[in-house]
Symmetry: C3
Subunit: 290 residues, 3 copies
C-alpha cells in the first residue's frame, strides 16, 4: 500500500498568503538581469521584502540571514554562478529554503552544467516550464530560449523523477500549472488559474520563482508553498487581465492586484485539483478552456 | 548610369509586421543593463520572442539558433564584450542577421574600440543617433552620453560612408528617422512618425534596435527591415502618446499599442518618403512640424 | 558663539528644480542592477539626462564630463567596484559633485569595505536610511537588507558625525526625511512630504540618490541640493499616490508627476522645517501623522 498523499485546499493556500503578509519574509534573489526590477516589485507587492544580494563574498553571508533564496539561471555570468553556489551551499547549511529556476536549460551548456550541480544541493522547490524540467531531468533537449515547446503533462514523468532524485517539490508552469511532491509521495496538484497575458510580460515565470521562495519561508511543506504561490500569482493575474488593455497595462495592474488580493479572494477563486500523476501523460490538457 | 534605388511603400512595411507576428522570430539580445527589461517587453509586444543570452560560452551557441541578434554597447562590461564578439562571429557564420547599436560611441574609449571591431563583422543594420553614426564613421566626437548633439541630416554623409564600408543598412534616429542603403545603392528613406515622449523613456532607441533585429529575421532586405521596424515602432508611439499623461504612463501605453497596432494601421499611418541623399545635408529639417 | 545655520525655504528648493529643468544636467550613474531602468526614467522625468557609464576604463573618462555622479552600492560586482573608485576619484579631481548611497551597508562585508573607502573620497552627499547611516558611521549593525530597522531620529548623532568626518551633507530617508549639514554647521532640515507607496516600489530610495546628484549639479550648496531633491521627489510621490490603485500603478503615475510638477507646486506643497539637531534623538517622530 502506497503512502497517502496529503490533501490540499484553497483555504490552506489562503492561510499561507496571510502568513507571508504577516511575516514579510526577506528573500535573497540571485536572478537574471532582465527581471531583477520586476521580481523585486512582485515580492514587495505580495508582502515580502526583496534583497538582490548576488556577488561572491556576500551571497553566502546573506543566505543564513534571509528567510528564503531564489537562484534563477537566466543570465548566469561567471561571478554570479560563483555566488549561486555560495548561496545554495550556505542556505542548505543554515536551513534556509531555496528555489531553483533552471531558465532555458538544455540547449545552453554553461547554465546546464550549473543547473545540474545546483539541483544536487537541496533546493526546496525546482520551478520551470515543461521543456526546462524535461531537460534538467535528462529527458529533453530544452525549449526555445525561455519558451516551452512541450506541454506540462508531457513533463510529468520527468518531474516525478526529478522530485525523487532531488527531494524537491517540482513545479511545472503552463496553461494548467502542476506541482509534484518529492520523494515517495505521489502528490500531484493542478492549478487552473492565470491568464495568457502573464506570458506576454518578461519575467512572468521568473518572478513566480521568487514568490515561491517567499511562500516556502513560511511553511516547511514545499508542495503547499509552490501551490499557494502559484495560486496567489495566477489569481492576481486573472484579476489584472480584466483591467488591462494589453501587456503594457497588464504589468502595473498585476502588481496592484498582487498587493490587494486577499486570502479570502484566494480561497474563493483558486481552482486547485489533486490529480493522478499516472494519468497525466495520457489525459487531454484543458488548454482549450483557457 | 547609377543603379536605381528600390521603391518601398507603407504596404511593404505592413506586410513585414504581419510576417513578424506570424513567425515570432527568436531574438538574442546582448544589450545594456538599463534596458534589458523594456527591450524584452517590446519584443514580446511586437510579436517576437526575446532571449537575453549574453555570456561567454553561450553567446556563440545561441546565435545560430536565434532568428536575429542585437548587439547594443550601452554598458559593455568585459565579459559581455567577449560574448558580443562570440555572438557576432557565430551569427555571421550561420547567416543570422544581426544589428549593431553603438551607444554613446566616440567619447568613451572602451566601447569605441569594440564598436569599430564589431562594425567589421557583417552587421545587417547599424542603428544609432546622428552623433553616434558620425563618431563610428570617424567624423565626429560623439554625443552627450546617449543624447545626439547633431541632426540626422548632418550625419547623412557619415551614414552613407558607413553603409558603404560595412555593407550594412544604416538607420539614424531623430525627429525624422533616416535609413540609408548599403553598398552602391543610393537608397535613403525618411520616416516622419513618432512622438517626443519616446525620448523621455530610457531605452526608446535601444529597444528599436531589437525590433530591427526581429524584422531583419523575416526579410533579406535590411533597408526594408529597418524602415518597417522604425515605422511600426513610431506609429505605435504616436498612438500611445495620445493616451499618455507623461513619460510614466506612456511606457505601458506604448507596449499596449505595439501589441495591438495592425498591419492595416501601419499602411494607413506610416509617413515614408524616398529622399535624395545628396540633398539632405542642405535641406531644412522638418523638426518644427513635430 | 557657534556659526549660524543658513535658512532654507521651499522657494529656494523650487528655484533649484527650475535650474535642473533649464540646465538638464548629465548624471553618470554607477548603480545597482535592480534599479537602473527606474533610475534612468526618474532622471529623465525630472529633467536631467542619465548616462549609466559604469565600467572600468570608461568610468573615469566620463566623470569629468558629467554634471554629477551617483555611486550606489546595491549590487557591487567586482568590476563595478573598480569603476566606482575610478569615477569617485575622477569626479573629485574634476570638481564634479557626486553622491554616495551605501545600500545595505553593515551586515555585508564587501560593500561595507567599499563604502568606507568611498566615504573618504569627497562625496557631496551621502544618502541612506537610518540603519545604513548608523552602520557607515560605525554605530550600528545595518538594517534588514535594504530596509531600515532604525528611525531617522535615532541616526541623528551618527549622521552628524558622518557629515563632520566626510564633509558631505548627509540625508537620512524615512517618514520624515532629514538632511544634516557638513562640517561645523549645525544645519538640520526635516521634510515631511511623501507617501508610503514610495517604499512599495523597488528603487524608491536609490533613484532619489540620482535626483540628488542632478540637483547637486546646479548648486554648490549640498544641503540645499539634498533638500530640494527630496522635496521635489516626495511632493511628486504625494501627487502620484492620489492617482494610484497600488504600487503597480503608482510607479508610472510617479514618473508622470515628476515630469509635470512645477516649481510653484513645490513652493506651495513642500513642508520644510529647520530642526534642532540636539533635540531629535529625544523628540517623538511624527510618523503617526503620515
Amino acid at each position: 500500500m502506497s503512502r497517502m498523499a496529503i490533501r490540499y485546499t484553497p483555504e490552506d493556500c489562503a492561510r499561507l498568503l496571510e502568513a507571508v503578509r504577516t511575516r514579510q519574509p526577506l528573500i535573497q534573489c540571485l536572478t537574471n538581469a532582465v527581471v531583477t526590477n520586476f521580481t523585486a516589485n512582485v515580492l514587495l507587492a505580495v508582502g515580502a521584502a526583496p534583497a538582490m544580494v548576488d556577488i561572491p563574498g556576500e551571497a553566502a553571508e546573506f543566505a543564513p540571514v534571509a528567510s528564503g533564496v531564489l537562484v534563477n539561471l537566466g543570465t548566469p555570468a561567471a561571478s554570479q554562478r560563483t555566488a549561486m553556489l555560495e548561496a545554495a551551499g550556505a542556505a542548505r547549511a543554515a536551513g534556509t529554503p531555496w528555489v531553483l529556476d533552471p531558465v532555458a536549460v538544455g540547449a545552453l551548456s554553461v547554465r546546464t552544467a550549473a543547473a545540474q550541480e545546483l539541483a544536487g544541493m537541496g533546493p526546496a522547490i525546482i520551478r520551470g516550464n515543461a521543456s526546462e524540467i524535461l531537460a534538467l531531468a535528462g529527458s529533453g533537449a530544452g525549449g526555445r530560449g525561455v519558451d516551452a515547446t512541450d506541454s506540462p503533462a508531457a513533463a510529468a514523468g520527468a518531474a516525478r523523477q526529478l522530485a525523487g532524485d532531488t527531494g524537491a517539490a517540482v513545479a511545472v508552469s503552463g496553461a494548467r500549472d502542476l506541482v509534484f511532491g518529492p520523494g515517495g509521495l505521489r502528490t500531484c496538484l493542478g492549478i487552473d488559474n492565470g491568464d495568457v497575458l502573464l506570458t506576454r510580460v518578461t519575467g512572468g515565470g521568473c518572478a513566480l520563482g521568487a514568490v515561491m521562495a517567499a511562500f516556502s519561508a513560511v511553511t516547511s511543506d514545499a508542495v503547499l508553498a509552490a501551490a499557494a504561490a502559484t495560486g496567489t500569482y495566477t489569481v492576481a493575474a486573472e484579476r489584472a487581465a480584466r483591467l488591462a488593455s494589453g501587456p503594457g497595462s497588464f504589468a502595473p495592474a498585476f502588481l496592484d492586484e498582487l498587493a490587494s488580493v486577499t486570502p479570502a479572494d484566494i480561497a474563493a477563486s483558486l481552482r486547485l485539483a489533486a490529480l493522478d500523476p499516472d494519468g497525466l501523460e495520457q489525459a487531454p490538457q484543458p488548454e482549450a478552456a483557457r
